[in-house]
Amino acid sequence: MNLLQGKISSVMNINCLRRNLFSASSALPAVQLPAKKELHFWYILPDEVNSANLLNQYLEILSPCEKENIFRMRGEQLKKRALLARTLVRTTLARYQTNCQIDPKSLKFRKNNYGKPEVDWQYSDDWSLPPLHFNISHTSSLIACGVTVDSTIGIDVEEKQRRLKNDILAFARRYFTLREVEMLTGISDPETQRQEFIKLWTLKEAYVKALGKGFSASPFNTFTVRLRDSMEKGTCHASHLISEVPEIIIESSGDPNNPSENWQFVLLELLGSHYAAICMEQDMISGGNGSVPINLIIRKTIPFVKDEFMSSGTDVVVVGGLTRLLGPA
């Protein structure tokens, strides 16, 4: 390394120095930022994380406030789940470093007016972080975090085997739209009906989370989520589209013949055990004659231990929505 290179790296290191508070062995591998129209989906399986050492390591990267919230909860499983959720968010975002390593502990968060969590860039120690959007969802067996750049996002995950306490149609009549109730009523097999219900729930929940104003602002019976009819609107799908699954669209109850083109959905089946719905704001400028597919990168992670790319196959099945699953760069 010549003298000039040495000078440049030492200038950079001055800024990095105060952030390199953890040992090299627990560093998070850097990851390329999501491109436009690209979504990174990270998930962790709580059942795979049992080492007390590792869990304590995770506790160390949380803010005092987050730690306190966890200590106040009752039940080991609940605490573990909450810990893993915060760890997933912090470690995931910290990977998108541009200049130097980001200490996941240094990230600051705030809530919008309606309680939706977001990164507080103003007070974050690291000024070089790009405007990342994220959203998390957890079930007892899977915790997921979706990340995009410059695009609002909402995700929701549910266990496929989830049972409802109430009767499905009674629930749907109370909370969903007429069109959705009709769709569900038309399914004669109870098991299929239940699964379609869960899919519908995750999609609607992902949409409301993307909007970021809470259940109250967008009651579920004010919008219908459904599959786009192939005959509808003469949409032109990109010919090189890999996925043949139907497109998912959303229409407001007030204006049913005018589906909203602002939002795009993807519905996945993960590990044969979970449905994951993703809702992303569509960039209207590049809209053109039809929707552009969302590029999706799915990774399973145990922070500080290992990350795995998940590609299309038995573990990840695209159930709906225009998407392209990308592999390792």
Binding site: L78, F171, A217
Partner: protein
């Protein structure tokens, strides 16, 4: 006139006994005072502790909930580990229990036992 005199005893019977109560109008809780108002006979407020008991029993009956964790301060997510679908299911069960519809734009706010009790106890439609 005959009609008027026939009406008089009836009117006396229906008259709200305001006079004896007016001296201590401020020491009587609005709840008690309103019970005697003829306009509000249809919308009586339920007793808060009765509401609390009924809410707690609805929540305890929820399969996913560990009954030993249910106390008046329990938060659906943080204490009982329930997610958004569970919370909506509980709201629906509370609607069935108390016989009135909880508007969707209020359902968001009911995420703990205390909030549910406060909400229901302050709604005249609750049965």
């Amino acid at each position: 006139m005959a009609a008027k005199s026939a009406l008089q005893p009836l009117l006396k019977y229906l008259r709200v006994p305001v006079q004896p109560l007016s001296q201590n109008i401020f020491s009587i809780s609005p709840h008690l005072f309103r019970r005697f108002s003829t306009e509000e006979v249809r919308g009586c407020f339920l007793d808060k502790s009765e509401v609390a008991d009924r809410v707690i029993s609805v929540v305890k009956n929820f399969e996913k909930v560990n009954p030993s964790k249910v106390n008046p301060n329990a938060h659906f997510q943080n204490d009982l580990g329930l997610d958004s679908l569970d919370s909506v299911e509980i709201v629906m069960a509370l609607e069935e229990e108390f016989g009135f519809e909880i508007p969707d734009n209020e359902a968001d706010k009911i995420n703990s036992i205390n909030l549910a009790v406060d909400f229901i106890a302050s709604h005249p439609q609750a049965k």
